[in-house]
């Protein structure tokens, strides 16, 4: 995975909504597609487009925000369904960071597994950033320092330490875990001996 260090003066797109659930981020009907098809076009599809495909005028489709790398939203972003496709849609659209006051747990974990930074700020800071990005101000993100720069102000953001390290290094969990294979095998054997009921009874 590509490491995430910083973003310098990138375009940021405002999405002034709370509780943007993963059903909104990618409607279920698109999830049959293989990832190779690219999920960017599905992002927030039913909020962005009328049934005949005309844009409803969200900032996401405004040429002024073309090439946006950062999305700013309100609280409880990515709640609901565990679909990782919601993150694929954001990443394939071009986003590397979402700034919001809070995130759905599963979404945030999925985001980090795909190199997308979930940056938490307080409600007031989110509102300021929504206003400034709507006015066209660009945003810089420094993950090592955990700061957002916008319109002359430096705003701190929160991200779990473990996730920060993982993103900074572009680490892949599976490689890391495979280095513990022997410990896992020993643990499983001991558990099966101590708690034989924990194994499903073999029904043949």
């Amino acid at each position: 995975m590509e490491p995430f260090r910083r973003l310098d003066a990138v375009v940021a797109c405002p999405l002034p909504l709370a509780n943007v659930d993963t059903d909104q981020l990618i409607p279920a009907r698109f999830m049959k597609q293989p990832r190779a098809a690219g999920y960017g076009g599905f992002l927030l599809h039913d909020l962005r487009f009328d049934t005949d495909g005309t844009s409803r005028g969200l900032a996401l489709d405004d040429p002024a925000f073309a090439g946006a790398r950062v999305l700013v939203a309100r609280r409880n972003f990515g709640s609901g369904s565990s679909r990782e496709a919601a993150v694929y849609a954001l990443v394939d659209f071009g986003f590397r960071c979402v700034i919001a006051p809070s995130f759905g747990d599963i979404f945030a974990s999925n985001a980090v597994n795909n190199g997308l930074l979930p940056a938490r700020v307080d409600d007031a800071a989110a509102e300021r950033l929504l206003g400034r990005t709507a006015a066209g101000h660009r945003v810089s993100i420094d993950l090592a320092e955990r700061t957002i720069g916008c319109d002359g102000e430096t705003i701190p953001f929160a991200v779990d330490d473990v996730w920060r390290t993982k993103l900074l290094n572009g680490w892949d969990d599976i490689d890391l875990t495979l280095s513990h294979t022997e410990a896992v095998r020993a643990f499983a054997a001991e558990r099966a001996a101590m708690y034989p009921w924990s194994l499903p009874r073999d029904r043949g």
Binding site: L17, D23, G80, S81, G104, N110, V162, D173, A183, V184
Partner: protein, 478 residues
């Protein structure tokens, strides 16, 4: 010469149910607190195709196919089986069959008499047991916590990780106890309890927390009720939701096909009963409710937290002080086509749906049938039992005939109209009284308007043709 001996206390600190589950599954704990947990059960469904693609890209094998179980539920049709008319839907069901066959994973497929919704099948088969760590690439995996298992939803990359390693990295969440004491009125149940706490704490009220449900109203619930309560934990943002194993849990599990049997079962039961939180264990957050204050609830908006008692009125955004909340309410009412101040019980509906991992178990179907017996539904609707075995049992009890006589369609089992992936959808602009878990915009179909409520309340809405209080309809029946 005197000699002093120091006796060190060997009493371990009191622990919660969650702490006990966590501690007994920690393989590696890093300095930064990140912990590698062993996974006892991994459930898969059609959505696993992204994870299998990651496995294929690595050329990796499945570490423990014996602990991995797959069920076809998200895309399966609820009529006309085994044919699947839509090619892209059939491809999803076939892909699951292909992937599980290649990796030697047991599949409860479309043609298996045990097929059903993964969160119904796991408990029904005795695959879900107390004391386990259980994961599935589905947010409603919290359901299984009803048995006192740490069960949570994961994303596709994590599914691939579990397939390859049988473990998952987690940070220890905070612990929250939601206590509901007392006796709810007849016709009031687990769904009302869940929507009541979510309305009070908010859709992110339990974010970062492992929830334990406690109190006499909770322990008084059947396993079906506990499954509904734990299922909805994710709608309040919880990492998981659990109920400590007790006599009800053990009675439910005895004799289940994959559960231990004989002496092994008795040994297991003793271990399971020891999982309950220690009396003086500390929780990071405690919330309590009185059972008597829980009444039949319906949602009016586009988030599960938008719930009110059936005798309330549609909220008025102009009377809400918090501007962000007022803006959400305004937006939700526009989508739902509702007018502030109008009594909820006057809102006419177009159809009903009884089903989903939240409310499709035998007890849910009995509760709906108790209201519908001898009555007619004024609107069309579907009933999709939670599993093929629930369907069979309901038919033995004659419940299918009650639904059909009332004018509803009796279908096969699957996720169906909760998520609409199989084509069972609410037409645009229509209003559906639904036993499901999410009233998100477009969830049940593009432009669909969803009102969440209990199976008994959906049955009442079907009979009235509008949102309705079930309590008068139950007089003399329960």
């Amino acid at each position: 010469m005197t000699r002093s001996t120091t006796t060190r206390s060997t009493t371990p600190p009191p622990r919660t149910l969650f702490d006990k589950l966590w501690d007994s599954h920690a393989v590696v704990t890093r300095e930064d607190g990140q912990t590698l947990l062993f996974v006892d059960r991994h459930f898969l469904h059609e959505g696993s195709h992204h994870a299998f693609a990651q496995l294929a890209a690595r050329g990796a094998a499945v570490a423990r196919p014996d602990l991995t179980f797959a069920v076809a539920d998200h895309y399966v049709p609820t009529r006309g089986r085994p044919a699947i008319a839509d090619d892209s839907v059939r491809a999803m069901v076939d892909r699951l069959a292909g992937n599980t066959a290649v990796h030697g994973i047991r599949l409860f497929g479309l043609d298996d008499p045990r097929q059903g919704i993964v969160h119904v099948v796991g408990p029904e088969q005795g695959l879900t047991l107390p004391g386990l760590v259980t994961v599935c690439g589905d947010s409603h995996t919290s359901t299984h916590g009803a048995f006192g298992t740490f069960a949570f939803g994961i994303g596709a990359s994590e599914v691939a990780h579990v397939l390859i390693t049988q473990t998952i990295w987690q940070r220890r969440p905070k612990r929250m106890r939601i206590r509901i004491d007392g006796t709810p009125a007849p016709g009031v149940g687990a769904k009302d309890m869940a929507l009541t706490w979510i309305a009070r704490l908010g859709a992110d009220g339990a974010q970062g927390h492992a929830i334990e449900y406690a109190g006499s109203a909770v322990t008084g619930l059947s396993m079906e009720g506990r499954l509904t309560l734990c299922n909805l934990s994710i709608e309040g943002g919880g990492r998981c939701g659990m109920v400590a194993p007790d006599a009800t849990t053990i009675a439910f599990l005895r004799g289940r096909p994959f559960a231990p049997e004989g002496a092994a079962f008795d040994r297991a039961a003793a271990d399971w009963l020891a999982l309950a939180s220690d009396a003086d264990a500390a929780f990071d957050t405690e919330v309590s409710f009185a059972g008597e204050e829980i009444v039949p609830v319906v949602t009016w908006g586009t988030s599960p937290q938008d719930a009110l008692p059936i005798d309330a009125a549609v909220p008025d955004p102009d009377r809400i002080a918090d501007p962000a909340r007022a803006s959400h309410v305004r937006d939700a009412l526009a989508y739902m086509d509702l007018v502030p101040g109008r009594p909820l019980a006057e809102v006419a509906i177009d159809r009903v749906f009884i089903g989903s991992c939240t409310n499709s178990r035998i007890e849910d179907l009995r509760a709906a049938a108790a209201v519908l017996a001898g009555r007619s539904a004024r609107v069309p609707g579907l009933v999709s039992p939670g599993s093929s075995l629930v369907k069979q049992q309901a038919e033995q009890e004659g419940l299918d005939r009650v639904f059909v006589a009332a004018g509803l369609e009796w279908r096969d089992s699957g996720c169906s109209m909760c998520v609409g992936m199989n084509g069972d959808q609410v037409p645009s602009g229509e209003r559906c009284a639904s036993t499901t878990n999410r009233n998100f915009k477009n969830r049940q179909g593009l432009g669909a308007r969803t009102h969440l409520m209990s199976p008994a309340m959906v049955a009442a809405a079907a009979v009235a043709g509008r949102l309705a209080d079930v309590r008068p309809l139950l007089a003399g029946r329960i």
